[in-house]
Symmetry: C2
Subunit: 283 residues, 2 copies
């Protein structure tokens, strides 16, 4: 029976740290604040926003919404971003993407100040992840994976780690963050030959394949730590991960469930980034 | 007896391609030109510069030197860079580093236009390598490794590749470039446990450990392709790589010698980047 690496335990500990940081900032007269720029009313965006603002409220972080119509012009959007960029009271900015097709998303990302880029989408943040420096912020999902490992005291140093998936949002940054923690890192993907044998040799596996249940017991071996980044809806309409949990669980040492694993940590990571951004203004 | 992957063969083929590109640009009235910014007279810089300018001459690429005294002020250096940045006749810029300590190197790199960053030092270039896009240019050394693989028709797709070293100049970009070519990539480093057994499993090995002869026959196995990035001086004062060539050569299928391997390709890669930068101005 594998140990469950539970997002709620990680989040609870992370929230306590964030609250302490917020209290510390309050003593210095600083109130962390998130600026949310949303174009249109896409249900996914609205739902994520609700989660984020609720978490902000719980943790004592303020937020301000900048809601723009779906047919906003590039000029209006850029003007809004410039205002939020230059507002010293706003420490972090979340911009929902993809933007409607008539807008130049690359130009928006380029204009976003890296020091306020709490979602890790700017070049500055990406270089920070690639170089292993504190420039900008890593994307929230791979950071949530690291929070889980750290919370459960899993030391990556010298471990054989395999990352399944090479996306710019999860796979590649997760690999760089594991490397920063001194793991020996292998990146697998759709072109990998005999992936089961490659994954089987790992001590630590981060799965971000983007397909339900693709990693099953053929890929896994005793003693492994498995972090499942996938969020999919299976044939019965239930949430499930990229790992076949029922088959994996009897084999491995520890595993994150879906739901209740990585996904449940990302919102606190985002809010934590806002607080960190506020702290950095003091440096 | 391993096949030797010879830099001079790669360079010869690369030079022909570059010359054809230069001729093509000439028809469109474009003369590719490299701007070289050098502060002081460090012998290593002067020697590299001589190699680069000679190669430019051979390939029909013009160059212009901007030589500044070792005690140049930040303002003067930035003014020079701005001039070169904004000179439409100059397509690529090489800035020798490290700069003298009184100068703010980060500010200089930040000011350099990514589209002229033929040495791959800006954030824009690094994101290009990390994301696998054509933004900026990769650093010349890992690009030279890829040129060698490509020249000898070594298809990376699905291959198990191991990169020894995780520097921002070689190891990490080489790993990303192999990933872009669909290899399954493992990154090893000083904290890797039992590195010989990890490297032994690879089909393709890029060694950028930065220490003479650390990879020997204990790390290697038959059938492997080995690319040695190291340039070291051994106890007898001779140039040698990070691979113990005498011990490796009888084991592996193909290997780059040192000298005469990767290092001999980088200068043409740099000049090739200048020509590519000139071509991109037409897009």
């Amino acid at each position: 029976m594998a140990k469950q690496l539970l997002g709620k335990e990680v989040t609870a500990a992370l929230n306590e740290r964030i609250k302490a940081d917020v209290a510390g900032l309050a003593e210095k007269g600083i109130q962390p604040r998130l600026g949310i720029i949303r174009v249109g009313e896409r249900p996914d965006d609205v739902s994520y926003e609700r989660g984020a603002t609720k978490r902000c409220e719980t943790l004592g972080v303020e937020y301000e919404k900048f809601l723009l119509p779906a047919d906003v012009t590039q000029e209006e959007l850029m003007a809004t971003l410039e205002k939020v960029n230059n507002d010293d009271k706003i420490h972090g900015i979340l911009i929902f993407r993809p933007l409607p097709k008539h807008l130049d998303e690359a130009a928006v990302i380029k204009a976003l100040k890296p020091e306020k880029d709490v979602d890790g989408i700017t070049d500055g943040s990406m270089v920070g992840v690639f170089a292993g420096t504190k420039q900008g912020f890593p994307p929230c999902t791979p950071q949530a994976c690291m929070e889980i490992l750290d919370h459960y005291g899993i030391d990556c140093k010298g471990k054989k780690a395999v990352v399944v998936g090479r996306s710019l949002v999860v796979g590649k940054p997760a690999a760089m963050m594991l490397l920063q923690r001194h793991a020996t890192v292998t990146i697998c993907h759709t072109r990998t030959v005999d992936m089961p044998s490659v994954v089987k040799e790992a001590e630590l596996v981060i799965v971000a394949a983007g397909r339900a249940g693709v990693v099953d017991d053929r890929y896994l071996s005793p003693g492994q730590i498995v972090v499942d980044v996938g969020i999919n809806v299976n044939e019965e309409g239930k949430l499930c991960g990229d790992v076949d949990y029922a088959k994996a669980e009897p084999v491995v040492e520890a595993i994150t469930p879906v739901p209740g694993g990585v996904g449940s940590v990302t919102t606190s990571v985002l809010v934590g980034h806002v607080v960190e951004a506020a702290k950095r203004t003091l440096e």
